[in-house]
């Protein structure tokens, strides 16, 4: 047990060092985007990797929190930390409603239901007046954190995103290794047996769904403040597909996989941006390759090489 923790600590140290040192050589806004998506993917991975539930509608939580944070910061004048908390709370509430509906079915039905619910939310935001339709909510003020720290300073903003990301990451790590996480894994492996052991699996799955939605919301709200924008892109089904891709590529059910996956996918998008629709083709190709030949993902394969789960 102690041995298995050492390499996780080392990997965690490497990750923290990367995000602390990288802005010296890489554009910090890009890294903030990576961290937001990494947190989003980690939240998604909590559900699929440990609960075995494939949600194809996670964009609804990212987008809802983004809209709520952007609207409250811009129109109601909330300070950034309150706006982020408010956005996260909205995603949490939506997660409760969507979760109650979605966990009534399993497997591919669960995927189809979450996708359909997310599409409904998308159409709602498309028509709702406060979202600004195709334009989105633009020029969201970053404001001052706790009234003190001016977030228009890029390094202050970077530090906040780093803290939010690491806090979310550690929370998920803690959840996975708690008794709750163990029960969740047992449901993934064999739900009837978990039921026969006396666990109310519906409640566990719902709690996992709400936790995942809330953390995805935290990522979305933070992203809206960083980029001063909340738009339809974040609620569209292609965003739900993207987070699946990040997690699959990095490694389903691995702790660090989603972070690596997010880094790779966001970099790809950044460097292939001028290729237009070919980005979709490349992403689709990666999906096909991953499923056919590379199901463990990057981190999963690494973990197999060093014979320890990462």
């Amino acid at each position: 047990m102690t041995q298995s923790k050492t390499h996780e600590r080392v990997a965690f140290g490497v990750m923290v060092a990367f995000f602390v040192l990288a802005p010296l050589v890489v554009y910090p806004v890009f890294l903030m985007k990576v961290m937001c998506f990494a947190l989003f993917a980690c939240a998604f991975n909590l559900l699929i990797g440990y609960g075995g539930l494939l949600s194809f509608g996670h964009a609804m939580f990212l987008g809802t929190a983004g809209y709520a944070a952007a609207h409250s910061a811009k129109v109601w004048g909330f300070s950034p930390e309150v706006a982020i908390v408010f956005g996260t709370a909205c995603a949490c509430a939506l997660g409760g409603i969507a979760g109650v509906l979605a966990i009534r079915r399993q497997g591919i039905y669960f995927a189809m239901i979450t996708l359909a619910l997310a599409q409904m939310i998308f159409f709602y935001y498309l028509q709702a007046p406060f979202t600004g339709g195709e334009d989105g909510i633009q020029a969201v003020p970053r404001g001052r954190l706790l009234g003190l720290l001016d977030l228009s300073n890029i390094w202050a903003m970077y530090a906040v995103v780093l803290v939010v990301f690491l806090a979310g990451f550690l929370f998920i790590y803690r959840a996975i290794h708690s008794p709750f996480g163990q029960v969740l894994k047992s449901i993934r492996e064999n739900e009837p047996r978990a039921v026969s052991l006396g666990y109310d699996t519906t409640r566990y799955k719902l709690l996992a769904f709400i936790l995942s939605a809330t953390l995805a919301g935290l990522a979305g709200a933070t992203k809206a403040i960083v980029f001063q924008l909340a738009s339809l892109t974040d609620v569209h089904w292609s965003m739900s597909g993207e987070v699946v891709l990040m997690t699959l590529l990095g490694g389903l059910g691995t702790i660090f996989g989603p972070v690596v996956g997010a880094l790779v996918v966001v970099s790809l998008e950044n460097y292939l941006a001028q290729l237009g629709a070919w980005v979709t083709v490349v992403q689709g190709g990666i999906f096909v390759l991953c499923v056919l030949t590379f199901r463990r993902g990057i981190v999963g394969e690494l973990g197999r090489l060093i014979r320890r789960p990462l």
């Binding site: 494939l54 194809f56 509906l101 009534r104 079915r105 497997g107 591919i108 039905y109 995927a111 189809m112 239901i113 996708l115 359909a116 619910l117 599409q119 409904m120 159409f123 709602y124 498309l126 028509q127 089904w237 597909g241 699946v244 699959l248 237009g276 629709a277 070919w278 980005v279 979709t280 083709v281 992403q283 689709g284 190709g285 990666i286 999906f287 096909v288 991953c290 499923v291 056919l292 199901r295």
Partner: protein, 294 residues
Amino acid sequence: MEIFGVPTQALFGQLLIGLINGSFYALLSLGLAVIFGLLNIINFTHGAQYMLGAFCAYLLLEKLGLGYWWALVIAPVLVGALGIIIERTMLKQLYKLDHLYGLLLTFGLALVIQGVFRNQYGSSGQPYAIPPALAGGHNLGFMFLPTYRAWVIVASVVICFGTWFLIERTKLGSYLRAATENPELVQAFGINVPRMITLTYGFGVALAALAGVMAGPIYQVSPQMGADLIIVVFAVVVIGGMGSIMGSILTGFGLGVLEGLTKVFYPEASNTVIFIVMALVLLVKPAGLFGTQK
């Protein structure tokens, strides 16, 4: 003349659009249900294959001068053959794994196909003319009925019931249903189940392509035409439950009509009404209206 304060022209007009949309929901959810029954895979590529059918018709007309009736035969065969290649080379490897991998693979394929066509043809639609034999329309007194739309509704009803007959009432269909229940046993009786699986996938995909050809003259032929539609069809499938062929057909038409009526009485909700119905059905009968929970 008015009904509930709505002019009958508008009411019947929207009902007709609802029936048209319902025809496509029924055709597509039927194909999904047939594929799911035997392969246990939700075919996310279905929307892209529907789009391929429409583009096939468009290209046959533009490049080879072959019209609508030829397209109605050639497009399903070509796209179905492509489906068979996909099944033989990729899907086949996934049957022993979690069903979710099939969903992920077909989602990736859909992205690739749609991306390639978007590069080639942009996001805007290409028009496809209504074939001369089906142009024009009839005045029914209470509304004007374009011939092509009547044709689409009649054709899809015939195709749907033909498929139902094939699966529920023929010898081949009984093999298919038996293989859905227990593939090993059917194989032991000397029936080539892997080939049946391949042909079933090809058939389901050909149905999607056929729907695409019929959709061409009504909606425009565009790379994204299947992407949003397939999500609605997923909701239709969840509402109906995939256990019964007749269930898919009735749910498809029923929800199309409901969507049309919503457009008349409460247009703001017309995009979302099917999803709302899905949420309600999940609360009351999680297995779907015609489904049985396994």
